[in-house]
Amino acid sequence: MKTGPLLEIENLSTHYVSARGARVVRAVDQVSLRINAGETLGIVGESGSGKSTLALTILRVLPPAAGIVGGRMLFEGEDLLLKSDEEMRHVRGKRIAMILQDPMASLNPLFTIGDQVAEPMRVHEGTPRATAWNRARELLKSVRIPSPETRVTQYPHEMSGGMRQRIVGAIGIACEPRLLIADEPTTSLDLTIQAQYLNLLRELQRAHGLALIFITHNLGIVAKMCDQLAVMYAGRVVESGPVSHIFNAPVHPYTEALLNSIPRMSDSAQRLTAIEGQPPDLAALPPGCAFAPRCVKAFDRCRVEAPPELALGERRTARCWLATSDPPLTPLPVEVTPHPCPLPACGERDGPA
């Protein structure tokens, strides 16, 4: 058994540069993460927080406009950023695999299911066609596709959404990778199918000893599936640690707000709590903490100086001045600009308390 983390990311940054260098978008900014073998790490954030870019960065499958500008990614001890493109190709699909969000778009409409499932094996391991197709049938069975013999010769459009996503999962585990990255795999599935799919993922994880990075915006799924959690905002990790710790005692106001915004039956409040304001424009971030404009606990220092990632314990970090002993415990009377509540029939001028 290998000691040490399976994947260790240190200060990773990926920037998008538009034509002629006019706009620089810091999609991933100084991100550090760690995942051990067999663990499940959840990455949570709004659209535009950089989660998907992070996933693509790990596998170095970025569009031409994006560039990795710094950091280290140690996978089983090797720095992925130092690998050549050809070496990286042998990592993709074979040692680290990825599942995308839209299963219909992920499968090539002109090729059979069998062909697409068998493909990674034939390319990475040189498996002859017949053997690969047999393996494909077994894989389909292990992801609970009924009658795999017939399915193997069918085309993607003949399957339902749930089945397609399992097939994509089968493709992912075809070469027995150590790490599987799932980018919002259940977002486009019906609710009833979601639970089944999540169970399937957990089963596969246990059976193959897979580590799983689960990217989602749904905290409910995180609660169910994940051991560790990283919360991203504006390209940075604002809080990370064991799921139970974070859920019980969030440090960063954004995490707190996310947790509060999950509607609960027991709530006596009449309105859904929402987070004020809009997600930031990544090309024009304010100085200081990126969340400060929307933060109800923000104070002077937050607007001027961006907080570093502060260690709060074993594998527990937060990027917030509240986590230090410096700041006053009550906000200074420099006003948090009151925003009118966007919900109708709401008389209050401040947002959620």
Partner: protein, 301 residues
């Protein structure tokens, strides 16, 4: 751990201080040469009477087949040579610009008007009107445009305005198709809904709300069609069913020049061809630029 510094963003330079629609126009992208060429051709066409050194329609039989002035046998009196009837090539080229310009622009505007109107009506009114117009468009598209234009020209006889009319009838379909698509999506927008709620008649809405928003697309399409129409006009002239002689047209000059090609009188064919090429090339480049600037959705056209 490092403390992040304020994110730098640079402000792009070279913007025109125009209204929002032209904010994105950058000086470096502007297709200067094509616009210059087209403007020159337009000016030449307008001032042909003044610019042409000789009468393009009457030639001097003693001065037949003179080559351009830089070749042996040429003279500066006839800068680009003369044709089989002793007519000055340069003058004919200059007057030919008139035909190309007039036919080109008028036909495009005419076809555009017809097509856009049908597109707006079809897209906005929907229902069976839409179905009928779309079926008509589809079947019309299936007919070979050039062949049809040739057919019509053969029937009605050659004359400049007939040609314009014919092109208008033949080339409207693309406008209709694309405009209809645009209208379909425009229909769902807020300002249309507001207009309906305010009680505007369908006709008013189509005219005052939808049409201005369609104009961008129509202009782009028009610039792309211009090249097509110019070549079509040249083709018709080449085949002898375009603008009738003695009025000079570039296509006609090409046809006349073909016979002399074998004996090496290259200037009779190559020069008019160059003019056509320059004009169409400029129109195409301009059209491409317009397409990218005015409506990014049309990039796939």
């Amino acid at each position: 751990m490092t403390i992040t510094s304020p994110v730098e963003t640079t402000v792009p330079s070279g913007y025109f201080p125009f209204s929002s629609r032209f904010d994105f126009v950058r000086l470096s992208d502007f297709p200067l040469i094509p616009v210059l060429i087209l403007s020159t051709i337009a000016l030449v066409a307008i001032f042909a009477n003044v610019l042409a050194p000789h009468n393009p329609e009457i030639g001097s039989l003693t001065a037949r087949f003179k080559p351009p002035f830089w070749q042996a046998g040429g003279s500066t009196k006839y800068l680009l040579g003369t044709d089989q009837l002793g007519r000055d090539v340069l003058s004919r080229l200059i007057f030919g610009a008139r035909v190309s310009m007039v036919v080109g622009f008028t036909a495009v505007i005419f076809a555009g008007a017809v097509g856009t109107t049908l597109g707006i009506i079809s897209g906005y009114l929907g229902g069976w009107v839409d179905q009928v117009i779309m079926r008509l468009t589809d079947t019309w598209l299936a007919l070979p445009a050039l062949t049809f234009a040739i057919f019509l020209a053969a029937i009605v006889g050659p004359s400049m305005w007939n040609i314009v009319l014919i092109f208008g009838i033949t080339y409207w379909t693309r406008y209709a198709r694309v405009t209809r698509g645009e209208v379909l999506s425009l229909k769902e927008r807020e300002f249309v809904r507001l207009a309906i709620v305010a009680g505007c008649s369908k006709f008013t809405i189509m005219l005052r709300h939808i049409l201005p928003n369609i104009l961008n697309t129509a202009i782009v399409l028009g610039s792309l069609e211009l090249g097509v129409v110019i070549i079509a006009e040249a083709t018709l002239s080449f085949l002898g069913i375009g603008v009738p002689p003695p009025q000079p047209a570039w296509g006609l000059m090409l046809a006349d020049g073909k016979q002399s090609l074998m004996v090496g009188r290259w200037w009779l064919s190559v020069l008019p061809g160059c003019c056509i090429m320059l004009m169409v090339l400029s129109a195409n480049i301009l059209g491409d630029w317009l397409r990218v600037k005015l409506d990014p959705q049309l990039r796939q056209l």
